[in-house]
Amino acid sequence: MRVMVLVKATKESEAGEMPNQELLSEMGKFNEELVKAGVMLAGEGLHPSSKGARVEFSGAQRSVTDGPFAETKELVAGFWLWQVRSMDEAIEWAKRCPNPMEGGGVLEIRPVFEAEDFGDEFTPELREQEQRLRAEIADREQ
């Protein structure tokens, strides 16, 4: 399964304060561990909401509001996309993350919808063809 891990914003992150050198290097190490474990799929930090914008929908209407936005604790300062086996594994990894904010950070873990990835399936032609091909390649390699 995949989870999105949201790093919640704080007053400081919304003010555009950059993390200190120590946190950056600890975060770098943590990310490296995620990569080495095959967990990390993607991850980015986000600028404060003052640089963002919202498009709001009301029926056929669209209205644009520029940031910053007020409800700091609901805002997102960064995210990861992780490949994990379970929510438990995701929580365990999240606990190993260095505190992402100098004050008090919050990570929110949300499982990604996996649409019926694997429906009932016959063997499509190309698939079978590919498998044969692979089998032959494997034979030859042995």
């Binding site: 095959g38 967990v39 490949q83 694997f118 429906g119 009932d120 063997t123 698939r127 063809q129 390699e141």
Partner: protein
């Protein structure tokens, strides 16, 4: 917790005792201690280091008890002495580096060619994936005792043959690496072949294989075929949502809704392929197959597919490992790139190929090319021949439609 720590723990202990089977037992022992002690004493700040320390203490106890392992004790003594000479934080760093090497050694050991394919798969998923015997059994549709037996036998085989716990030297490396890649790809394909009624552990094998591949790419970043395999798996996995229709029918690659492809995985796959290419060209079988898959992934619509490049890649694949099936694929690509007459010319060379005599795709490809050339009677005969060679209901239905179209045509 176990799944995060198991591979590193087993690898580290195997590096210590030079015996993979023993290392796994020790890791289990350490876990049992953790389950007993942590609820009372609290989870240590570094659970991995705690488990490793307990595992090593157990290892020393066991080795002291067993006279059989004198030689190992000697090795162990040397090892301890050496490590004692190293200092505080340097030691930590050394151990950390050591773990990476031990993990790589562990992969090569669990995928040792002397083991049967089933044993390699079971051992790898158990030790590097941290899967339980039950999970492996469910994934491969066999009984738990079968898997347990495979693992026990595999460990015994490795111990009896005294297989060294090491990364193979240059001479042996290509063959040993291809054994590792084969195991990972086999796990992936097993998951890819899963059907809806299956236990969820089966499709999860795709994710396990991808994770193993990504881990291996970090452990052996200089091996182009590792990145080639990762690229191939990422791109194939990117299509999993699109390759099955709403009522469970298969959707062929060219008919798939590309908006349903997973573009994150495609991006990762293309990046992995670039790494493979940067390491001396995409010249291995996995990198070549990945490059073919990438041609499809790069085309925004089926009509934009770069068939000339695909044909050239199949040509390279055919030179690497000549096979009539690869040749047939090449003919399809040539037919798309240079017109049906050119494709037919290649297919006609294959009609006397004994390996393809009972292969339904040969007449179905030939029929398709003939139909495009307007030779409908011949095309219909080929489709009918293909129908007589396939047991697959969906394919028969498809072929029936094409026979009818030719007859009407």
């Amino acid at each position: 917790m176990w799944r995060i720590e198991a591979p590193r723990l087993i690898a580290g202990l195997a590096g210590f005792v030079r015996d993979v089977g023993l290392a796994e037992d020790l890791a289990q022992d350490a876990l049992v201690s953790a389950l007993e002690q942590w609820p009372d004493e609290g989870v240590p700040s570094n659970p991995g280091a705690w488990l490793m320390a307990v595992g090593k203490r157990r290892a020393i106890d066991r080795l002291r008890r067993g006279k059989v392992l004198e030689r190992k004790q000697e090795e162990l003594g040397r090892d301890l002495e050496m490590r004692q000479q190293e200092g505080g934080s340097e030691l930590d760093a050394a151990l950390d580096d050591g773990i990476e090497d031990d993990l790589l050694r562990l992969v090569f050991t669990t995928c040792h060619p002397m083991l049967s394919t089933e044993a390699r798969v079971a051992l790898t998923l158990r030790m590097l994936g941290g899967l339980t015997t039950g999970e492996i059994a469910r994934a491969f549709l066999v009984s738990e005792s079968t898997v347990a037996q495979r693992i026990v036998r595999a460990k015994r085989t490795l111990a009896e043959a005294d297989v060294p716990f090491e990364v193979p030297g240059n001479e042996e490396l290509p063959e040993r690496l291809s054994s590792v890649l084969e195991v990972i790809y086999l796990v992936f394909n097993e998951g890819y072949a899963a059907t809806a009624g299956d236990d969820w552990m089966r499709p999860a094998l795709c994710e396990e294989a991808l994770r193993l591949g990504r881990v291996l790419a970090e452990l052996a970043p200089q091996e182009s075929e590792v990145h080639g395999l990762v690229a191939l798996m990422e791109i194939q996995a990117s299509r999993s949502r699109a390759r099955v229709g709403p009522s469970g029918e298969p959707v062929l690659l060219l008919d798939q809704d590309r908006a349903r492809w997973d573009w994150l995985l495609i991006g990762r796959g293309l990046a992995a392929l670039e790494r493979a290419e940067a390491l001396g060209g995409a010249v291995g079988p996995y990198a070549l197959q990945a490059a073919i898959a990438a041609c499809h992934a790069r085309a925004r619509t089926a009509a934009e597919t770069d068939w000339a490049r695909i044909a050239a890649l199949y040509g390279a694949l055919a030179r690497l490992s000549p096979s009539p099936v690869v040749e047939l694929n090449r003919a399809v690509a040539v037919g798309m790139a240079s017109g049906p007459a050119a494709g037919l010319e290649l297919v006609d060379r294959l009609t006397s190929e004994p390996a393809l005599a009972a292969y339904h795709l040969l007449p179905s490809v030939r029929g398709d090319l003939l139909e495009k050339l307007g030779r409908l009677d011949e095309a219909r005969a080929e489709y009918e021949r293909a129908m007589s060679l396939t047991q697959n209901e969906a394919q028969r239905r498809l072929l029936t439609e094409r026979v009818a179209a030719c007859a009407a045509g």
